[in-house]
Symmetry: C2
Amino acid sequence: MDNSKIGHHISEQFNKELEDIRNKVLVMGGLVERQIELAIEAYTTGNMELAEQVIKQDNDVDLLEIAIDQECTQILALRQPTAFDLRLLIAVIKIIHEIERVGDKAERIAEMAIQLANSEIRISHHELEHMAQLVKGMMHDALDSFARMTVEDVPAITALDINVDREYDSILRQLITRMMEDPRNITRTLDILWTVRALERIGDHACYICEHLVYMIKGEDVRHLGQEELEKIVKVSR
Amino acid sequence: MDNSKIGHHISEQFNKELEDIRNKVLVMGGLVERQIELAIEAYTTGNMELAEQVIKQDNDVDLLEIAIDQECTQILALRQPTAFDLRLLIAVIKIIHEIERVGDKAERIAEMAIQLANSEIRISHHELEHMAQLVKGMMHDALDSFARMTVEDVPAITALDINVDREYDSILRQLITRMMEDPRNITRTLDILWTVRALERIGDHACYICEHLVYMIKGEDVRHLGQEELEKIVKVSR
């Protein structure tokens, strides 16, 4: 575990507090990664117990966000941090919000799994699973970069979002064709569409986490910049 | 203008800084309210110039978010605020993020206006406009509560979200019926669906702004609580 950035405080207690926050973010992130996994498994296998579990556990994610948020605010009030420490706390508050939103998307997929369980309609799971793997990988790598407190992998992660969008468009086209061919099943097909859209949004949130991480480490706000600009800023040596 | 909460600092300069941030948030909020208005007008009248204007101005909203964010961080670093001032700054950082997301939704509606401009298909504007009025009113009242630094109207605002969801469901059902009856126009009908969905999300963001406001004023995190719990917390006398 690279403590080089966190472990430079004269106060041993302050180090511990920041380390504790970082660990809690990783626990929360791990929980949500698992939520995505279970939701997709519920969706593709029709395992309703898994779907229920995802929906139930969303509460744990919410509570973790509130707890970490509170801890960050307390440290801001008591330690009055500046520079990297301040950016770390601000970035964490934003990052946990993204993670919470990803948890909501996993819950949504689980809900769709339940809706679709009794339906005969199925989309080729191959493509949906591929898209799920892609966004799950982006989330994993974004959280891993946060754990290692490094931005070097950020451009590679955000670059993948184009692939996600491409797969989303491709599946959307298929679903539209299917709706045209079988209008009686439009409601069901829309449920699949919501699932695919939730996956697409998970990719976006992974990119947002990366942006907050760049702000934290580099002190630069890279939101709304293009991929090229982002790469330039990340590459500037520290 | 009620400065009772902001204007209590010994440092005149600090008062000015907080006042400046509050004013910038209101400018940003006003800009986004106008974006929603113009996007809906572009959508219902087919005025493409308006739609282009909304899309172009989204950049101003993004830049305002970045500027206010930076200002908050600077104050956190230099003034090391505690209690209400700290909560104000944290809440502002979160509120401007919600406003920015609402701006994105307005942009999305404007894009759909352009997509649909050359299409013969139209949904009854009556219902869509009613839903638009509803969420625009929620945004307006949420921003107004922020301007007045009061939470008394919050329960009334968040309670409206049920109506928004109900209208969304009703329009969704209509759209599904229309897709079944006229499968050739499914792509166009989906564009209408995205618009209605964007409106529904604006209602959610207005509620989130209210939640951040309650945290700011009352010091209580009311996210993920039900309407009843929220009302209780808001009603407790300060």
